[in-house]
Protein backbone atom coordinates (compact mmCIF):
# COMPACT_ATOMS: atom_id res chain seq x y z
CA UNK A 1 0.00 0.00 0.00
CA UNK A 2 1.50 3.29 -1.03
CA UNK A 3 1.76 6.13 1.45
CA UNK A 4 -1.05 8.58 2.09
CA UNK A 5 1.18 11.44 1.03
CA UNK A 6 1.95 10.02 -2.37
CA UNK A 7 -1.70 9.20 -2.96
CA UNK A 8 -2.66 12.75 -2.08
CA UNK A 9 -0.01 14.25 -4.33
CA UNK A 10 -1.06 12.02 -7.20
CA UNK A 11 -4.72 12.86 -6.72
CA UNK A 12 -3.93 16.52 -6.62
CA UNK A 13 -1.82 16.31 -9.72
CA UNK A 14 -4.53 14.47 -11.60
CA UNK A 15 -7.26 16.88 -10.48
CA UNK A 16 -5.14 19.90 -11.36
CA UNK A 17 -4.31 18.63 -14.81
CA UNK A 18 -7.94 17.70 -15.37
CA UNK A 19 -9.07 21.17 -14.29
CA UNK A 20 -6.35 22.75 -16.37
CA UNK A 21 -7.94 21.09 -19.36
CA UNK A 22 -11.60 21.55 -18.50
CA UNK A 23 -11.40 25.25 -17.73
CA UNK A 24 -10.26 26.48 -21.15
CA UNK A 25 -12.14 23.81 -23.07
CA UNK A 26 -15.22 24.38 -20.97
CA UNK A 27 -14.97 28.11 -21.46
CA UNK A 28 -14.70 27.76 -25.20
CA UNK A 29 -17.69 25.44 -25.37
CA UNK A 30 -19.67 27.62 -22.97
CA UNK A 31 -18.93 30.65 -25.09
CA UNK A 32 -20.11 28.85 -28.21
CA UNK A 33 -23.25 27.73 -26.45
CA UNK A 34 -24.00 31.09 -24.83
CA UNK A 35 -23.21 33.47 -27.64
CA UNK A 36 -23.23 31.72 -30.97
CA UNK A 37 -25.84 30.16 -33.19
CA UNK A 38 -24.66 27.26 -35.30
CA UNK A 39 -25.72 23.92 -36.66
CA UNK A 40 -25.05 21.08 -34.30
CA UNK A 41 -25.22 23.33 -31.27
CA UNK A 42 -27.61 21.00 -29.51
CA UNK A 43 -25.49 18.03 -30.48
CA UNK A 44 -22.45 19.68 -28.92
CA UNK A 45 -24.48 20.45 -25.84
CA UNK A 46 -25.62 16.84 -25.57
CA UNK A 47 -22.18 15.46 -26.22
CA UNK A 48 -20.57 17.55 -23.53
CA UNK A 49 -23.29 16.80 -21.02
CA UNK A 50 -23.43 13.06 -21.61
CA UNK A 51 -20.87 12.11 -18.96
CA UNK A 52 -23.21 13.63 -16.43
CA UNK A 53 -26.13 11.52 -17.54
CA UNK A 54 -24.21 8.28 -17.49
CA UNK A 55 -22.99 6.30 -14.52
CA UNK A 56 -19.27 7.03 -14.23
CA UNK A 57 -18.47 3.36 -14.77
CA UNK A 58 -20.04 3.53 -18.20
CA UNK A 59 -18.06 6.65 -18.95
CA UNK A 60 -15.02 4.69 -17.88
CA UNK A 61 -15.77 1.89 -20.30
CA UNK A 62 -16.42 4.35 -23.07
CA UNK A 63 -13.07 6.02 -22.41
CA UNK A 64 -11.36 2.68 -22.25
CA UNK A 65 -12.69 1.98 -25.72
CA UNK A 66 -11.72 5.39 -26.91
CA UNK A 67 -8.09 5.16 -25.88
CA UNK A 68 -7.90 1.51 -26.97
CA UNK A 69 -5.96 0.50 -30.05
CA UNK A 70 -9.17 -0.12 -31.95
CA UNK A 71 -10.08 3.50 -32.14
CA UNK A 72 -8.60 6.22 -34.26
CA UNK A 73 -8.02 8.36 -31.19
CA UNK A 74 -6.39 5.45 -29.39
CA UNK A 75 -3.95 4.73 -32.17
CA UNK A 76 -3.11 8.41 -32.40
CA UNK A 77 -2.43 8.46 -28.67
CA UNK A 78 -0.37 5.35 -28.96
CA UNK A 79 1.84 6.79 -31.67
CA UNK A 80 2.34 9.96 -29.64
CA UNK A 81 2.93 8.45 -26.21
CA UNK A 82 4.51 5.23 -27.36
CA UNK A 83 1.91 3.10 -25.66
CA UNK A 84 -1.75 3.17 -24.86
CA UNK A 85 -2.86 5.82 -22.41
CA UNK A 86 -5.09 3.43 -20.54
CA UNK A 87 -3.97 2.68 -17.00
CA UNK A 88 -1.71 5.71 -16.77
CA UNK A 89 -2.24 8.81 -14.69
CA UNK A 90 -3.02 10.64 -17.91
CA UNK A 91 -6.00 8.38 -18.37
CA UNK A 92 -7.06 9.21 -14.82
CA UNK A 93 -6.81 12.91 -15.57
CA UNK A 94 -8.74 12.37 -18.78
CA UNK A 95 -11.49 10.57 -16.90
CA UNK A 96 -11.65 13.30 -14.29
CA UNK A 97 -11.76 15.95 -17.00
CA UNK A 98 -14.50 14.27 -19.00
CA UNK A 99 -16.63 13.72 -15.95
CA UNK A 100 -16.25 17.25 -14.61
CA UNK A 101 -16.59 18.99 -17.97
CA UNK A 102 -20.42 19.03 -17.96
CA UNK A 103 -20.47 20.78 -14.59
CA UNK A 104 -18.00 23.34 -15.79
CA UNK A 105 -19.71 23.95 -19.11
CA UNK A 106 -23.16 24.23 -17.57
CA UNK A 107 -22.03 26.75 -14.95
CA UNK A 108 -19.99 28.77 -17.44
CA UNK A 109 -22.79 28.86 -19.99
CA UNK A 110 -25.32 30.15 -17.50
CA UNK A 111 -22.82 32.72 -16.28
CA UNK A 112 -21.85 33.99 -19.73
CA UNK A 113 -25.43 34.12 -20.90
CA UNK A 114 -26.28 36.29 -17.92
CA UNK A 115 -23.91 39.09 -18.91
CA UNK A 116 -25.67 42.11 -20.39
CA UNK A 117 -24.72 42.12 -24.08
CA UNK A 118 -24.99 45.89 -24.15
CA UNK A 119 -21.82 46.12 -22.11
CA UNK A 120 -20.04 43.98 -24.66
CA UNK A 121 -21.39 46.22 -27.36
CA UNK A 122 -20.05 49.24 -25.50
CA UNK A 123 -16.63 47.63 -25.21
CA UNK A 124 -16.56 46.78 -28.91
CA UNK A 125 -17.37 50.37 -29.67
CA UNK A 126 -14.38 51.45 -27.61
CA UNK A 127 -12.11 49.51 -29.88
CA UNK A 128 -11.90 46.25 -28.04
CA UNK A 129 -12.04 43.21 -30.33
CA UNK A 130 -14.29 40.32 -29.50
CA UNK A 131 -11.44 38.38 -27.95
CA UNK A 132 -10.34 41.16 -25.66
CA UNK A 133 -13.93 42.03 -24.87
CA UNK A 134 -14.50 38.50 -23.77
CA UNK A 135 -11.57 38.57 -21.37
CA UNK A 136 -11.97 42.09 -20.02
CA UNK A 137 -15.74 42.43 -19.90
CA UNK A 138 -17.69 39.21 -20.30
CA UNK A 139 -15.51 36.96 -18.20
CA UNK A 140 -15.09 39.34 -15.25
CA UNK A 141 -18.80 40.06 -15.25
CA UNK A 142 -19.56 36.35 -15.27
CA UNK A 143 -17.10 35.77 -12.44
CA UNK A 144 -19.54 34.25 -9.96
CA UNK A 145 -20.61 31.48 -12.26
CA UNK A 146 -17.11 31.00 -13.58
CA UNK A 147 -15.61 30.61 -10.15
CA UNK A 148 -18.44 28.36 -9.06
CA UNK A 149 -17.95 26.24 -12.19
CA UNK A 150 -14.23 25.97 -11.60
CA UNK A 151 -14.87 24.88 -8.04
CA UNK A 152 -17.41 22.29 -9.09
CA UNK A 153 -15.07 20.99 -11.74
CA UNK A 154 -12.01 20.78 -9.53
CA UNK A 155 -13.79 19.16 -6.64
CA UNK A 156 -15.57 16.73 -8.90
CA UNK A 157 -12.22 15.82 -10.47
CA UNK A 158 -10.75 15.24 -7.02
CA UNK A 159 -13.55 12.92 -6.02
CA UNK A 160 -13.85 11.12 -9.34
CA UNK A 161 -13.84 7.39 -8.91
CA UNK A 162 -16.08 5.31 -11.15
CA UNK A 163 -14.70 6.28 -14.54
CA UNK A 164 -11.12 6.57 -13.37
CA UNK A 165 -10.96 3.11 -11.92
CA UNK A 166 -12.10 1.56 -15.17
CA UNK A 167 -9.89 3.47 -17.57
CA UNK A 168 -6.89 4.00 -15.34
CA UNK A 169 -7.18 1.05 -13.03
CA UNK A 170 -6.39 1.11 -9.38
CA UNK A 171 -2.63 0.80 -9.41
CA UNK A 172 -1.04 1.99 -6.19
CA UNK A 173 1.58 4.63 -6.82
CA UNK A 174 0.60 5.01 -10.45
CA UNK A 175 -3.11 5.57 -10.81
CA UNK A 176 -4.54 5.06 -7.37
CA UNK A 177 -6.24 8.33 -6.43
CA UNK A 178 -7.70 9.16 -3.04
CA UNK A 179 -11.19 7.85 -3.85
CA UNK A 180 -9.76 4.62 -5.24
CA UNK A 181 -7.56 4.21 -2.21
CA UNK A 182 -10.47 4.83 0.13
CA UNK A 183 -12.52 2.26 -1.72
CA UNK A 184 -9.71 -0.24 -1.59
CA UNK A 185 -9.15 0.30 2.10
CA UNK A 186 -12.81 0.03 2.94
CA UNK A 187 -13.02 -3.18 0.96
CA UNK A 188 -9.93 -4.46 2.67
CA UNK A 189 -11.57 -3.70 5.99
CA UNK A 190 -8.90 -1.18 6.93
CA UNK A 191 -11.33 1.44 8.10
CA UNK A 192 -8.75 3.50 9.99
CA UNK A 193 -6.72 4.03 6.85
CA UNK A 194 -9.91 4.72 4.92
CA UNK A 195 -10.90 7.30 7.52
CA UNK A 196 -7.60 9.08 7.24
CA UNK A 197 -8.03 9.59 3.53
CA UNK A 198 -11.66 10.51 3.94
CA UNK A 199 -10.66 13.29 6.27
CA UNK A 200 -8.05 14.40 3.76
CA UNK A 201 -10.78 14.48 1.11
CA UNK A 202 -12.92 16.61 3.37
CA UNK A 203 -10.04 18.97 4.05
CA UNK A 204 -9.26 19.28 0.37
CA UNK A 205 -12.91 20.07 -0.25
CA UNK A 206 -12.93 22.70 2.47
CA UNK A 207 -9.75 24.21 1.08
CA UNK A 208 -11.19 24.34 -2.42
CA UNK A 209 -14.34 25.96 -1.10
CA UNK A 210 -12.38 28.48 0.93
CA UNK A 211 -10.35 29.35 -2.16
CA UNK A 212 -13.57 29.69 -4.12
CA UNK A 213 -15.03 32.07 -1.55
CA UNK A 214 -11.82 34.01 -1.39
CA UNK A 215 -11.76 34.40 -5.17
CA UNK A 216 -15.38 35.52 -5.08
CA UNK A 217 -14.61 38.16 -2.50
CA UNK A 218 -11.54 39.25 -4.41
CA UNK A 219 -13.56 39.96 -7.50
CA UNK A 220 -16.75 41.11 -5.87
CA UNK A 221 -15.89 44.77 -6.05
CA UNK A 222 -18.47 44.62 -8.78
CA UNK A 223 -21.36 44.75 -6.43
CA UNK A 224 -20.35 46.96 -3.58
CA UNK A 225 -23.92 48.04 -3.33
CA UNK A 226 -25.01 49.64 -0.16
CA UNK A 227 -28.63 48.67 -0.30
CA UNK A 228 -29.62 47.23 3.01
CA UNK A 229 -33.28 46.65 2.83
CA UNK A 230 -34.53 45.23 6.14
Amino acid sequence: MSSDASIIVLSFQIALVATGVTLPVGMLIAWLLARKQFHGKFALDVFVSLPLALPPVVVGYALLWLVGTHSWFGSLGESVFGSTLAFTWIAAALAAAVVSLPLVVRSFTAALAGVDPRLEVAARGLGSGSFRTFFTITLPLAYRGVIAGALLGFVRALSEFGATIVVAGNIPGRTQTIPAAIFTRISAGDSDAAWRLTIVSILLGVMALATHNWLLKLSSTVSRDSSEVG
Binding site: R118, V121, A122, R124, L126, G127, S128, L141
Partner: protein, 354 residues
Amino acid sequence: MISFDLRIDRRGFSFDVSGQFDEGVTAVFGPSGAGKTTLLNCLAGSMRPDSGSIEIDGENVYSSADGIWVRPEKRRIGTVYQDGALFPHLSVRRNIDFGWKLVPAEQRRLDPLEIVELLGLSDLLERMPSELSGGERQRVAIARALAISPRLFLLDEPLASLDVARKGSILNYLKRVHDEFKIPMVYVSHSVTEVVSIASHAMLIRDGSVLGFDRPSALLLTAALDGSSVERFENILHGVVGESTDQLTTIEIDRISISTRHQNKNPGEKVVVSLGANQIILAPSEPNQLSARNVLKGRVKEIWSSNGKVFAEVDVGPEIIVELTESALNELGISVRSDVFLIFKSSSVDVFDA
Protein backbone atom coordinates in the same frame (compact mmCIF):
# COMPACT_ATOMS: atom_id res chain seq x y z
CA MET B 1 -17.95 63.05 -43.63
CA ILE B 2 -20.47 60.30 -42.90
CA SER B 3 -23.17 59.35 -45.30
CA PHE B 4 -25.70 56.72 -44.52
CA ASP B 5 -28.92 55.17 -45.63
CA LEU B 6 -30.49 52.85 -43.09
CA ARG B 7 -33.61 50.74 -43.00
CA ILE B 8 -34.97 48.66 -40.14
CA ASP B 9 -38.33 47.02 -39.67
CA ARG B 10 -39.54 46.23 -36.18
CA ARG B 11 -43.06 45.33 -35.27
CA GLY B 12 -44.82 48.65 -34.85
CA PHE B 13 -41.83 50.71 -35.90
CA SER B 14 -40.19 51.15 -39.24
CA PHE B 15 -37.02 53.10 -39.56
CA ASP B 16 -35.81 54.62 -42.81
CA VAL B 17 -33.26 57.35 -42.36
CA SER B 18 -30.59 58.61 -44.68
CA GLY B 19 -28.37 61.64 -44.70
CA GLN B 20 -24.87 63.04 -44.65
CA PHE B 21 -23.08 64.49 -41.65
CA ASP B 22 -20.08 66.69 -42.32
CA GLU B 23 -17.24 67.41 -39.94
CA GLY B 24 -19.43 69.80 -37.96
CA VAL B 25 -21.79 69.07 -35.15
CA THR B 26 -25.17 67.64 -36.08
CA ALA B 27 -28.02 67.85 -33.64
CA VAL B 28 -30.65 65.15 -33.82
CA PHE B 29 -34.07 66.04 -32.47
CA GLY B 30 -37.31 64.22 -32.28
CA PRO B 31 -39.92 63.02 -29.84
CA SER B 32 -39.47 60.03 -27.59
CA GLY B 33 -39.42 56.84 -29.62
CA ALA B 34 -38.59 58.65 -32.85
CA GLY B 35 -35.56 56.51 -33.63
CA LYS B 36 -32.72 58.74 -32.47
CA THR B 37 -30.98 56.07 -30.44
CA THR B 38 -31.54 53.63 -33.25
CA LEU B 39 -29.71 55.94 -35.64
CA LEU B 40 -26.71 56.27 -33.34
CA ASN B 41 -26.60 52.53 -32.71
CA CYS B 42 -26.48 51.86 -36.42
CA LEU B 43 -23.66 54.33 -36.97
CA ALA B 44 -21.66 52.98 -34.06
CA GLY B 45 -22.11 49.45 -35.29
CA SER B 46 -23.85 48.26 -32.16
CA MET B 47 -26.94 47.52 -34.17
CA ARG B 48 -27.07 46.10 -37.65
CA PRO B 49 -29.78 47.58 -39.84
CA ASP B 50 -31.88 45.35 -42.05
CA SER B 51 -30.47 47.01 -45.12
CA GLY B 52 -28.68 50.10 -46.32
CA SER B 53 -25.16 51.46 -46.18
CA ILE B 54 -22.82 53.62 -44.13
CA GLU B 55 -19.73 55.39 -45.40
CA ILE B 56 -17.31 57.16 -43.08
CA ASP B 57 -14.57 59.33 -44.62
CA GLY B 58 -14.90 57.47 -47.90
CA GLU B 59 -14.65 54.08 -46.23
CA ASN B 60 -17.61 51.80 -46.61
CA VAL B 61 -18.25 50.44 -43.11
CA TYR B 62 -21.59 48.90 -43.92
CA SER B 63 -23.31 47.92 -47.08
CA SER B 64 -26.02 45.34 -47.20
CA ALA B 65 -25.74 45.18 -50.98
CA ASP B 66 -22.02 44.39 -50.94
CA GLY B 67 -22.15 42.39 -47.72
CA ILE B 68 -19.76 44.78 -46.00
CA TRP B 69 -19.78 45.06 -42.25
CA VAL B 70 -16.90 46.68 -40.40
CA ARG B 71 -16.94 45.56 -36.80
CA PRO B 72 -17.60 48.29 -34.25
CA GLU B 73 -14.13 48.04 -32.71
CA LYS B 74 -12.65 48.94 -36.07
CA ARG B 75 -14.78 52.04 -36.55
CA ARG B 76 -13.27 54.17 -33.79
CA ILE B 77 -16.54 55.87 -33.06
CA GLY B 78 -17.00 57.23 -29.56
CA THR B 79 -20.50 56.67 -28.27
CA VAL B 80 -22.08 58.05 -25.14
CA TYR B 81 -25.03 55.78 -24.52
CA GLN B 82 -28.28 57.05 -23.16
CA ASP B 83 -28.01 54.81 -20.12
CA GLY B 84 -24.28 55.21 -19.71
CA ALA B 85 -23.47 51.50 -20.10
CA LEU B 86 -20.52 51.86 -17.75
CA PHE B 87 -18.62 48.68 -16.98
CA PRO B 88 -19.82 47.85 -13.48
CA HIS B 89 -16.74 45.86 -12.53
CA LEU B 90 -14.22 48.57 -13.39
CA SER B 91 -13.45 51.70 -11.43
CA VAL B 92 -14.10 55.08 -13.00
CA ARG B 93 -10.43 55.28 -13.87
CA ARG B 94 -10.40 51.93 -15.58
CA ASN B 95 -13.64 52.65 -17.39
CA ILE B 96 -12.04 55.74 -18.88
CA ASP B 97 -8.75 53.99 -19.58
CA PHE B 98 -10.45 51.05 -21.23
CA GLY B 99 -10.65 52.39 -24.74
CA TRP B 100 -7.77 54.83 -24.43
CA LYS B 101 -5.27 52.03 -23.87
CA LEU B 102 -6.34 50.45 -27.13
CA VAL B 103 -5.65 53.51 -29.24
CA PRO B 104 -2.21 53.54 -30.85
CA ALA B 105 -0.18 56.26 -29.13
CA GLU B 106 0.20 58.31 -32.32
CA GLN B 107 -3.56 58.49 -32.75
CA ARG B 108 -4.21 59.76 -29.23
CA ARG B 109 -5.19 63.37 -29.48
CA LEU B 110 -6.97 63.90 -26.20
CA ASP B 111 -5.39 63.61 -22.80
CA PRO B 112 -7.47 61.52 -20.39
CA LEU B 113 -6.22 63.58 -17.48
CA GLU B 114 -7.48 66.73 -19.04
CA ILE B 115 -10.80 65.15 -19.91
CA VAL B 116 -11.19 63.97 -16.34
CA GLU B 117 -10.31 67.37 -15.01
CA LEU B 118 -12.72 69.17 -17.28
CA LEU B 119 -15.59 66.85 -16.53
CA GLY B 120 -15.03 67.26 -12.80
CA LEU B 121 -14.22 63.60 -12.25
CA SER B 122 -10.83 63.89 -10.58
CA ASP B 123 -12.14 62.98 -7.16
CA LEU B 124 -14.14 60.04 -8.40
CA LEU B 125 -11.46 58.06 -10.20
CA GLU B 126 -11.30 55.23 -7.71
CA ARG B 127 -15.08 54.88 -7.33
CA MET B 128 -17.04 52.03 -8.79
CA PRO B 129 -19.96 52.95 -11.09
CA SER B 130 -22.44 51.74 -8.49
CA GLU B 131 -21.12 54.42 -6.18
CA LEU B 132 -21.86 57.31 -8.51
CA SER B 133 -24.82 59.63 -8.77
CA GLY B 134 -26.78 59.76 -12.00
CA GLY B 135 -25.05 62.85 -13.31
CA GLU B 136 -21.63 61.55 -12.35
CA ARG B 137 -22.31 58.42 -14.33
CA GLN B 138 -23.16 60.44 -17.42
CA ARG B 139 -19.93 62.38 -17.15
CA VAL B 140 -17.89 59.20 -16.88
CA ALA B 141 -19.61 57.92 -20.02
CA ILE B 142 -18.62 61.08 -21.85
CA ALA B 143 -15.04 60.83 -20.65
CA ARG B 144 -14.79 57.19 -21.64
CA ALA B 145 -15.98 57.86 -25.17
CA LEU B 146 -13.80 60.92 -25.61
CA ALA B 147 -10.72 59.12 -24.39
CA ILE B 148 -10.48 57.07 -27.58
CA SER B 149 -9.97 60.25 -29.65
CA PRO B 150 -12.82 59.11 -31.86
CA ARG B 151 -13.17 59.77 -35.57
CA LEU B 152 -16.84 60.43 -34.93
CA PHE B 153 -18.45 61.24 -31.64
CA LEU B 154 -22.02 60.17 -30.92
CA LEU B 155 -23.83 61.54 -27.89
CA ASP B 156 -27.22 60.29 -26.81
CA GLU B 157 -28.73 62.89 -24.48
CA PRO B 158 -25.53 63.10 -22.52
CA LEU B 159 -26.44 66.04 -20.38
CA ALA B 160 -29.96 65.01 -19.45
CA SER B 161 -29.38 64.80 -15.72
CA LEU B 162 -26.88 67.55 -15.19
CA ASP B 163 -27.32 70.92 -13.58
CA VAL B 164 -27.07 74.09 -15.65
CA ALA B 165 -23.62 75.02 -14.53
CA ARG B 166 -22.19 71.64 -15.47
CA LYS B 167 -24.15 71.50 -18.68
CA GLY B 168 -22.66 74.77 -19.80
CA SER B 169 -19.10 73.85 -18.98
CA ILE B 170 -19.33 70.42 -20.57
CA LEU B 171 -20.90 71.86 -23.70
CA ASN B 172 -18.14 74.39 -23.95
CA TYR B 173 -15.58 71.65 -23.50
CA LEU B 174 -17.19 69.52 -26.18
CA LYS B 175 -17.18 72.45 -28.50
CA ARG B 176 -13.53 73.12 -27.86
CA VAL B 177 -12.73 69.49 -28.49
CA HIS B 178 -14.66 69.66 -31.68
CA ASP B 179 -13.04 72.80 -32.92
CA GLU B 180 -9.57 71.77 -32.03
CA PHE B 181 -9.67 68.25 -33.39
CA LYS B 182 -12.44 68.59 -35.94
CA ILE B 183 -14.12 65.47 -34.64
CA PRO B 184 -17.57 65.30 -36.23
CA MET B 185 -20.26 64.99 -33.58
CA VAL B 186 -23.81 63.77 -33.63
CA TYR B 187 -25.70 65.02 -30.68
CA VAL B 188 -29.12 63.72 -29.68
CA SER B 189 -31.03 66.05 -27.45
CA HIS B 190 -34.47 67.20 -26.47
CA SER B 191 -33.22 70.55 -25.40
CA VAL B 192 -32.90 73.06 -28.18
CA THR B 193 -30.84 75.48 -26.17
CA GLU B 194 -28.45 72.73 -25.31
CA VAL B 195 -27.60 72.00 -28.90
CA VAL B 196 -28.23 75.13 -30.82
CA SER B 197 -25.05 76.72 -29.66
CA ILE B 198 -22.92 73.86 -30.81
CA ALA B 199 -24.59 72.38 -33.88
CA SER B 200 -23.87 73.33 -37.48
CA HIS B 201 -26.64 71.08 -38.76
CA ALA B 202 -29.77 69.63 -37.32
CA MET B 203 -31.87 66.64 -38.19
CA LEU B 204 -35.43 66.22 -37.10
CA ILE B 205 -36.67 62.64 -36.86
CA ARG B 206 -40.12 61.38 -36.14
CA ASP B 207 -41.53 57.87 -36.37
CA GLY B 208 -38.36 56.62 -37.94
CA SER B 209 -38.28 59.14 -40.77
CA VAL B 210 -36.34 62.31 -41.37
CA LEU B 211 -38.69 65.29 -41.24
CA GLY B 212 -36.02 67.83 -41.83
CA PHE B 213 -32.28 68.20 -42.18
CA ASP B 214 -30.86 71.67 -42.46
CA ARG B 215 -28.93 74.41 -40.70
CA PRO B 216 -30.20 74.47 -37.10
CA SER B 217 -31.86 77.83 -37.51
CA ALA B 218 -33.76 76.80 -40.59
CA LEU B 219 -34.75 73.48 -39.07
CA LEU B 220 -35.74 75.05 -35.81
CA LEU B 221 -37.98 77.42 -37.63
CA THR B 222 -39.78 74.56 -39.30
CA ALA B 223 -40.01 72.73 -36.02
CA ALA B 224 -41.09 75.79 -34.09
CA LEU B 225 -43.80 76.56 -36.62
CA ASP B 226 -44.94 73.00 -36.30
CA GLY B 227 -44.82 73.44 -32.54
CA SER B 228 -44.49 69.96 -31.21
CA SER B 229 -40.86 68.99 -31.44
CA VAL B 230 -38.97 71.88 -29.93
CA GLU B 231 -39.66 74.36 -27.17
CA ARG B 232 -38.98 77.46 -29.15
CA PHE B 233 -37.00 79.00 -31.92
CA GLU B 234 -33.52 80.24 -31.08
CA ASN B 235 -31.61 82.71 -33.19
CA ILE B 236 -28.00 81.65 -33.43
CA LEU B 237 -25.51 84.37 -34.22
CA HIS B 238 -21.73 84.28 -34.48
CA GLY B 239 -19.78 87.18 -33.14
CA VAL B 240 -16.78 88.32 -31.18
CA VAL B 241 -16.54 89.67 -27.68
CA GLY B 242 -16.32 93.44 -27.46
CA GLU B 243 -15.87 95.38 -24.31
CA SER B 244 -17.05 94.41 -20.87
CA THR B 245 -18.18 96.32 -17.81
CA ASP B 246 -18.87 94.85 -14.41
CA GLN B 247 -22.36 93.88 -15.43
CA LEU B 248 -22.43 93.80 -19.18
CA THR B 249 -20.44 92.48 -22.07
CA THR B 250 -20.96 93.58 -25.66
CA ILE B 251 -20.81 91.14 -28.50
CA GLU B 252 -20.08 92.41 -31.97
CA ILE B 253 -22.06 90.69 -34.69
CA ASP B 254 -21.61 91.91 -38.24
CA ARG B 255 -22.36 95.59 -38.08
CA ILE B 256 -24.24 95.55 -34.80
CA SER B 257 -23.40 95.03 -31.18
CA ILE B 258 -25.48 93.30 -28.54
CA SER B 259 -25.39 93.71 -24.78
CA THR B 260 -25.29 90.56 -22.73
CA ARG B 261 -24.78 89.72 -19.10
CA HIS B 262 -21.19 90.01 -18.05
CA GLN B 263 -19.11 87.24 -19.62
CA ASN B 264 -15.75 86.09 -18.41
CA LYS B 265 -14.23 86.51 -21.82
CA ASN B 266 -11.53 88.54 -23.42
CA PRO B 267 -12.24 91.05 -26.13
CA GLY B 268 -11.84 89.48 -29.55
CA GLU B 269 -12.86 85.97 -28.45
CA LYS B 270 -15.24 84.30 -30.84
CA VAL B 271 -18.59 83.40 -29.43
CA VAL B 272 -21.95 82.04 -30.45
CA VAL B 273 -24.98 83.86 -29.26
CA SER B 274 -28.40 82.38 -28.87
CA LEU B 275 -31.48 84.53 -28.61
CA GLY B 276 -34.97 83.17 -28.25
CA ALA B 277 -37.38 84.38 -30.91
CA ASN B 278 -40.01 84.71 -28.23
CA GLN B 279 -37.85 87.00 -26.13
CA ILE B 280 -37.74 89.82 -28.61
CA ILE B 281 -40.23 92.66 -28.73
CA LEU B 282 -40.99 94.47 -31.99
CA ALA B 283 -41.76 98.16 -32.15
CA PRO B 284 -42.54 100.21 -35.26
CA SER B 285 -40.78 103.27 -33.85
CA GLU B 286 -37.82 103.70 -31.62
CA PRO B 287 -38.91 103.27 -28.01
CA ASN B 288 -37.25 105.19 -25.26
CA GLN B 289 -36.79 104.61 -21.58
CA LEU B 290 -36.77 100.85 -21.40
CA SER B 291 -34.78 98.58 -19.16
CA ALA B 292 -34.02 96.46 -22.18
CA ARG B 293 -30.36 96.99 -23.10
CA ASN B 294 -30.77 96.08 -26.73
CA VAL B 295 -32.67 98.08 -29.30
CA LEU B 296 -31.80 97.23 -32.89
CA LYS B 297 -33.15 98.84 -36.00
CA GLY B 298 -33.98 96.68 -38.99
CA ARG B 299 -36.32 95.88 -41.80
CA VAL B 300 -38.79 93.01 -42.00
CA LYS B 301 -37.70 90.60 -44.69
CA GLU B 302 -40.24 87.88 -44.39
CA ILE B 303 -43.25 86.84 -42.31
CA TRP B 304 -44.47 83.28 -41.76
CA SER B 305 -47.47 82.28 -39.83
CA SER B 306 -48.73 78.87 -38.88
CA ASN B 307 -50.79 77.37 -36.07
CA GLY B 308 -51.57 80.79 -34.68
CA LYS B 309 -47.91 81.65 -34.40
CA VAL B 310 -46.25 84.35 -36.39
CA PHE B 311 -42.53 84.61 -37.09
CA ALA B 312 -40.97 87.66 -38.65
CA GLU B 313 -37.47 87.70 -40.08
CA VAL B 314 -35.86 91.06 -39.53
CA ASP B 315 -32.64 92.18 -41.13
CA VAL B 316 -30.75 94.17 -38.53
CA GLY B 317 -27.39 93.41 -40.03
CA PRO B 318 -27.59 89.77 -39.28
CA GLU B 319 -31.08 88.36 -39.75
CA ILE B 320 -33.03 87.76 -36.59
CA ILE B 321 -36.29 85.92 -36.27
CA VAL B 322 -38.92 87.28 -33.90
CA GLU B 323 -41.97 85.46 -32.64
CA LEU B 324 -45.04 87.63 -32.27
CA THR B 325 -48.77 87.40 -32.29
CA GLU B 326 -51.08 88.10 -35.15
CA SER B 327 -52.84 90.79 -33.15
CA ALA B 328 -49.57 92.62 -32.56
CA LEU B 329 -48.73 92.31 -36.22
CA ASN B 330 -52.03 93.86 -37.19
CA GLU B 331 -52.13 96.47 -34.48
CA LEU B 332 -48.64 97.74 -35.23
CA GLY B 333 -49.23 97.54 -38.95
CA ILE B 334 -46.05 95.63 -39.55
CA SER B 335 -45.54 93.93 -42.86
CA VAL B 336 -42.70 92.85 -45.11
CA ARG B 337 -40.32 95.77 -45.71
CA SER B 338 -41.54 97.71 -42.65
CA ASP B 339 -38.80 99.33 -40.66
CA VAL B 340 -38.95 98.05 -37.10
CA PHE B 341 -37.01 98.05 -33.85
CA LEU B 342 -36.10 94.86 -32.04
CA ILE B 343 -36.00 95.13 -28.26
CA PHE B 344 -34.57 92.47 -25.97
CA LYS B 345 -32.89 92.25 -22.62
CA SER B 346 -29.25 91.49 -22.07
CA SER B 347 -30.36 88.57 -19.88
CA SER B 348 -32.25 87.06 -22.82
CA VAL B 349 -29.01 86.43 -24.63
CA ASP B 350 -27.04 83.24 -24.01
CA VAL B 351 -23.39 83.28 -24.96
CA PHE B 352 -21.32 80.23 -25.75
CA ASP B 353 -17.75 79.68 -26.80
CA ALA B 354 -17.56 79.56 -30.55
